[in-house]
Structures are given as structure tokens and as C-alpha cells.
Symmetry: C2
Subunit: 336 residues, 2 copies
Amino acid sequence: MVTKIKAVQFGCGPIGCSVVRYASQRPDIELVGAIDIKESLVGRDLGEIAGTNNKLGVSISADADAVLSQAKPNVVFLTTSSSAKVVYPQMEKCVRAGANIVSTCEELAYPYRKNPQLSADIDKIAKANNVTVLSTGVNPGFLMDAWPLFMTGVCQQVKRIKAVRVQDASPRRGPFQKKIGAGCTIEEFEKLVAAGKLKHVGLPESIAMIASGLGWKLDEITESIEPVVAKTRVKTDFVTVEPGQASGVRQIGRGIRAGEELVTLEFEACVGRSESYDAVYITGTPNSEVVIKGGTHGDIATAGIVVNSVHRVISAPPGFVTMKDMPIVSVLGFSA
Amino acid sequence: MVTKIKAVQFGCGPIGCSVVRYASQRPDIELVGAIDIKESLVGRDLGEIAGTNNKLGVSISADADAVLSQAKPNVVFLTTSSSAKVVYPQMEKCVRAGANIVSTCEELAYPYRKNPQLSADIDKIAKANNVTVLSTGVNPGFLMDAWPLFMTGVCQQVKRIKAVRVQDASPRRGPFQKKIGAGCTIEEFEKLVAAGKLKHVGLPESIAMIASGLGWKLDEITESIEPVVAKTRVKTDFVTVEPGQASGVRQIGRGIRAGEELVTLEFEACVGRSESYDAVYITGTPNSEVVIKGGTHGDIATAGIVVNSVHRVISAPPGFVTMKDMPIVSVLGFSA
């Protein structure tokens, strides 16, 4: 085996831990540092926090500059925030330390529409430091943008495109069920929405990526969010939802041109749904319907695509890139 | 609109005509020449032969060198043969004329295993002439290689991978039904197989591409071909199949390592099947089942991905490339 890729984990929350669990199993990657400012994590072993089988001998530190300059990583897994503005100064530190970045920041999956200046800034500092920066994940980054675009490759015309992600949250963890509003009254649900606490980030970014890939200039991108209202009582290990309460959330993003809805992204997560699936529907020549039966496990898939992207990111030309322009990211089946 | 891409069609058989019909509808592409050595085609208008709405004002010529030097195309659609050895001297002419190439030569979809020297030669002359050469299509090129690889991107481990293409040939053209052996006795079928007249080319290439993408070193790639035997009488507009006769063909490619079948590609085309579909089955973390309902129309899809690849091929670094390493090829939705 050639020299391992040295990686630093920046952000040791649930997604970061999921990335660490996968990365620590890869024979081509060595975790050489970890950064988080949360007091309860600082000084702890990264493996212990992430729940790997063994300690990793990597202590979590709050001092990003110190970790980056000492560990000299080839790549940083940056999983701190959905907000481009929060993530930017962290990216800057990594890039100036000469590290490539694979981030899960949803707003940076395709930021050219909402954050054009920030996109240009990241591209500029990445090029100046000869590294590549990518933001990816299962959604945004795959299911509702890269995958639908990929499936249009065998079409001759696309008039409309729709991606649907339906998740039955019943078998998921309690915090996830609470996060999607399961068991809230409709009033409580609306309060959570108003407070910005109940929102999947990334639909506008996915729509912008699809439109760009298809060469469409959209007039408008809209988003709506509403409760899925339970018709019957639903009971999971963690919540009980009475009829009339929210069993989860339905979020719809729309890409519109000349009054016509060209792109539709429907995201639904609720308890008590009988099935999970992901699907792409293309209206065009020909029509196409593609379904991932049973859906896609969000945590496994996000950690998967983040870690699987590493080789592509390292070998890509310097600058800021998105999944729209990345070569196929596949798993590396060392352990098969 | 910026300057159109100038394209020459090399090979005016059914696939070439399908490419021409799509390319002629694209506002970003101008067909500037056509090559075929078939006497009945020489001197005819390309549009007339391809069945476009209007004549294209492009006369089919048997003199490749003359067409290439006069038309100075940015790209050549090369759809002459499944055989790498047949196609190579044609590629050489195009490349020396400074043209990028999108080919449908099945053996060149991923030729590094079966034709390593030829692959290196194409790469060398492409680089020397500062152009890019790609061979693609729906299969090989998409359904049984690039698409399965793409779907592994959200996995953390792949132990086995299987792709299935099932086509109900009943609604297809008569020549296609005959080509797959529908209505043959088993003896006739075996004779067609022995004569090499009844074979889908490309399964070993697709298996090699998948293995390379996943980092697997295979010991062996095998192929089998057998008739699908009709159990009941099947009648289409073109053939009648009696019980015990062949209703079509089933071809299976296998990628094996240490006695274990890691890659399985099943290709089945027959009349009287109730459904068509394409599917990818991944055994790993997690397992995954992805289905294209109703399948993928071979002719539309091949012309689609060939023409859709043009911009990626033109902007790729010079050399010989395969779909494994291409950025996402999506349709350009000008007309939407």
C-alpha cells in the first residue's frame, strides 16, 4: 500500500463521528488530528467519541491552527455547520495550511446562486494554496442533484425533473424523530419552523446545481415546509403521535422558469410511513423513473460519499468544485 | 449562442443515424460532414439517410481523409464497429485531423484489460494531437458500468455488485427481434452463437471498468450466452416463437476473484417478456437496489449519451478517457 492519506476531522458531532468511523476502517486513510471547540470533547480520544472499536490515539483539540500546522493533513473532513458563512473562516484556515477539504456544509454544495461572492472567495484561496475544496453529502450532494443529473445523461431532452426522498423515521434514533417534529402539535411544529429549528438545508442548492447542469436559467427557487399530519395514532420506541399531530415534515423545493415548475424536490421524513425510498422522475425523451428501493440511510451514505470523495478531491485541479463537475465517486473496495 | 460545435458523423448505420437525428436537433452542434464506405450511402444527404425532418446539406462521402481535412470538425461521432482493431485506424485519421472523438466502439469502452497496447496507442496519439477520445453508449458506457459505479458512491463497502438489463423485445423493430434469435430453433440459435452473430459486445469491458473503479483485481472474467427458451407460443408483428424455440438471448458476464463471483452482469433480451427494466444490486454497507422502471430504450439512450458527452470530451484534458473518469454527463436542456 502506498503512503496513507493524512486526514484531520474538523467538527466531531454526529456527522463527523460517522465520517471518523468509516475513515478509520479505510486502509488508505490515517486520521492524524481532530478539532472541535465543544468543551466536553476537548482532550478526549477521537475514537472514543466516534465509537470506533479502538482508541485512535488522536486527541480532540479546540485549537484548529495548532492541529493543522502540526498534523499537516492532506485532507480535512469539515463537518461543523450547514452555514456557508460559519464554515468559510474554518475553510480558510485549512486551505492556508495546505489541506484539501471535503466538507458537508449544505449551503456550499452549490453556492453560486445564493453565495456567489463566497464561492469566488473559496475558489480564489483554494487556487492560491494549490488545494481543492468540495462540499458533498447524501443530500445535498447526491440524491437530489448529482444522481438526477447523472440519470439525464441517457436522455435526449428533459422538460421537467423531480426527485423525491421519502424516509420512514420509525426505525431511526429518538433525536432524529424529535428533529423532524414527530409528536408535536401543529402549533408546536409551526413554532419550530418559525425558529428555524426544523428545516432540511440544501434544496435550493440542489435545484441550482440541477439547473446549471441542464443549462436552465431559472427565474425563481421557492421552498415550502409543512407538517405531515398523522391520520392514525403512531407509536415508536421514542414518540407517540396522536391523530392530528405532526408525524414528521414535508419540504418541497421548486425551480421555476416563466411560471413553469421545471425542478421539483420533495423531501419527506415522518414516523409511521410504511416505506422509504428515493426516486428520480424525468419528463422528457424518454421519460424515466428510477427508484432506490428502501431508500438511502442518511448517515451511512453521507459518511460514505465524504470519505469516498477523498481521492477525487486530491487529484482534482485546485479550486472550489461541486459534485456537478466531479468524476464518478465510487467506493474503494479494499476490504471486499 | 456561442460558436457551434462542428461535428462529423463517421459511420451512417442505424446507431450513426440515431446520433445524427439527435445531434441535428441540438442548437449547439452543427453537422459538417459524414463518412461511410457503403456504396448505397455515398453521395446521399445525411439527413435523408438518418430520417431527419429536413435534408442537412451534408453529403455522405467514402473519403474519410478528405471529409476530415475539409470539414475540420471539433468532434467526430465514430459509430462504425464494435471491434477495437477495426476502429483504431479510423480513430487515427480523426485524431491526426485534430478532432476529438466520441465513439460507440464497445471494445473501447474500457479496453485496458483486453487491449492494453491499443489503449496506450490511442492515448499516445490523442495526447500528441491535443484531443480527447472517449468510447461510450448505453451499454457498455452507462447501465452496466458507470451507473453501478456511481451508485456505490454512497456506500461504505461493496462486497458484490450485480447489474441486470432485461428487455422485452416485443415492441422493438423486426431486425432487433431477429438479431436476438427470437423464433430460432435451439440448433439455429447455437449456430448463430458459434458464428459470432448473436452476441452483445461489452460485458467484459464493463466488468473491467467496475473492477477498476472499486479497486478490485480480478483473476478472471467469464461470459456465457444461452437462448431464452419459450414456454408458450409468442407472436409479435414480426416473428412467431413456438414453445421450445428461442424467444431471445441471455448473456451473463462474471468477474471472479479467488473463486468468488464479485461482479455479475446479466443481459436478457427476448420477446414475450412482460416487462423491461434495468437494475443495480449492491451487496455491502448498505445493501442497495436501484431500478429503472420500464428499462432504458437502447437507441435513444446511446445517441443521448454520445451527443451529451461532447462538451465534457472537448473540455477534458487530452488523451484517451473512459466513462469511469468522466465528470457527470447530463443532457443540455436547451429546448426545454
